[in-house]
């Protein structure tokens, strides 16, 4: 693939260009899906890993910290991130020891990205469970996290202020409890306490 095409893919991801992302998604998802299905995962795992890897790339593009080796394509880099993510999740899930040497260095990722990915694991879970909340919970929490006051929130949502406060509490509590039920979250919690 030419440098120009590579650039277009990266620009598309950074700008959130839906059409460009869709094409890239379509061209690459099936490979990762097969990889994960062949390595003890299911389609839900594949979707999570693939999307989380794209989020990692998006965030790095935004921060301007994406370092892809010259001779590595975006596709190979994405595959590298996906495999790192999946092996780390598998390791936690099965508590098994996976030889870190099985990740190829020429995929544009190195040990430091594994550490970075580890740190971002909890963030993926927060977003995943947030997006799975009811529409009304998402609406109120979006306003809360956007820094709006309860008065403003009440006026936007047409709830009374008291009801808006109660609703905010219920939604936050439900989100935290769902997170805590995820075995992966518990695993990550242990790691953070050790730190």
């Amino acid at each position: 693939m030419s440098t120009n095409e590579e650039r277009k893919i990266l620009d598309g991801i950074r700008d959130g260009n839906e059409q460009a992302i869709k094409v890239f998604y379509q061209n690459n998802y099936s490979y990762i899906k097969s990889y994960i299905l062949n390595n003890s995962g299911d389609t839900r795992d594949a979707e999570d890993v693939f999307q989380d890897a794209l989020v990692v790339i998006y965030e790095k593009l935004k921060e301007g910290s994406l370092n892809i080796h010259e001779n590595v394509t975006v596709r190979s880099y994405l595959y590298g991130v996906c495999k790192n993510l999946w092996l780390s999740r598998l390791r936690k899930r099965k508590k098994m020891i996976v030889d870190p040497g099985i990740i190829k260095e020429n995929e544009g990722t190195d040990i430091s990205i594994s550490e970075e990915l580890e740190k971002k694991e909890r963030e993926h879970l927060y977003r995943k469970y947030f997006l799975a909340l009811s529409d009304s919970c998402k609406e109120i929490l979006r306003l809360v996290f956007d820094g709006k006051s309860m008065k403003e929130i009440a006026s936007i949502t047409k709830y009374s202020e008291g009801h808006a406060r109660k609703k905010k509490y219920d939604c936050k509590k439900s989100l935290i409890e769902k997170l805590e039920k995820d075995p992966m979250y518990k695993e990550l919690k242990v790691t953070s306490i050790k730190e």
């Binding site: 490979y31 299905l37 794209l54 989020v55 099985i102 977003r127 979006r142 509490y169």
Partner: protein
């Protein structure tokens, strides 16, 4: 620690730095004595930090939307080609009869190809079992991952000093398939031993190759074997077989 609305609101006030100095000191003291409270505050802080990044959240939402769209498009195209298959087959049987068998064959050929396209996914690179001849393998893998199948074939089929593992035969077979060399692909898949851990993969790709070659009977025999084996391809094999038999 029991979660209450009052507790949440205190934590929020603390994180938003809206407590008075005295309240802040008292709250921090409480945290040092109560590790559960400290952990709870940490969760709220992290939740706030992650979810206030609305750009990333929106990006993730976009990915979920795209994924749903792709799924819908795929199921639509699979059901269209499937119903088309039915319509064509039914019209032919009812209207024209035996003399037009040739027609039937031609039209179903397209449908078989649609099924092949819907089910075929290139065999992924599996790192876990890679051998020791790293340099040559790396080159093969790199080209395979990037879809340079001609290069893969060139390396693997010409270098006779290179002994092919069964996994490599899967890569070579898939490369042949992508180059339209179905018979060569079959030869590779057929050399994978029945007791090998790659045997299910070999059967699946052989079945798809037969589908591409319009040899439905041979494909069906293999699909039944895969269903009996009850491994990772079972579900797909069952689906495909049902479509072929209907």
């Amino acid at each position: 620690m029991e979660r209450t609305q009052e507790l949440f609101e205190r934590i929020e006030l603390y994180l938003a730095k809206q407590m008075s100095v005295e309240e802040t000191i008292a709250f921090e003291k409480e945290m040092t004595m109560n590790s559960e409270l400290e952990l709870e505050v940490e969760k709220h802080r992290e939740l706030q930090r992650v979810l206030s990044d609305t750009d990333t959240l929106r990006f993730k939402e976009k990915l979920q939307k795209i994924s749903e769209e792709i799924k819908q498009e795929n199921s639509k195209s699979a059901s269209i080609s499937y119903s088309l298959f039915w319509k064509i087959a039914a019209s032919i049987v009812i209207l024209i009869g035996v003399g037009t068998l040739l027609w039937n064959t031609l039209n179903t050929s397209d449908d078989l190809m649609d099924l092949y396209t819907a089910y075929y996914e290139v065999y992924p690179v599996e790192d876990v079992t890679r051998g020791s001849a790293a340099t040559e393998l790396d080159l093969v893998m790199k080209n395979y991952e990037q879809g340079n199948y001609e290069k893969v074939v060139a390396i693997l089929s010409q270098d006779t000093s290179f002994s092919l593992t069964e996994q490599m035969r899967l890569y070579l077979g898939n490369s042949y398939l992508n180059l339209g060399r179905e018979q060569d692909a079959l030869k590779q898949f057929e050399q994978i031993r029945l007791d090998s851990k790659y045997s299910e993969n070999a059967n699946w790709y052989s079945a798809l190759t037969y589908l591409k070659l319009k040899e439905v009977k041979k494909a069906s025999v293999l699909l039944r074997k895969i269903i009996d084996f009850d491994g990772i391809y079972r579900e797909k094999a069952q689906e495909l077989l049902t479509k072929l038999e209907d």
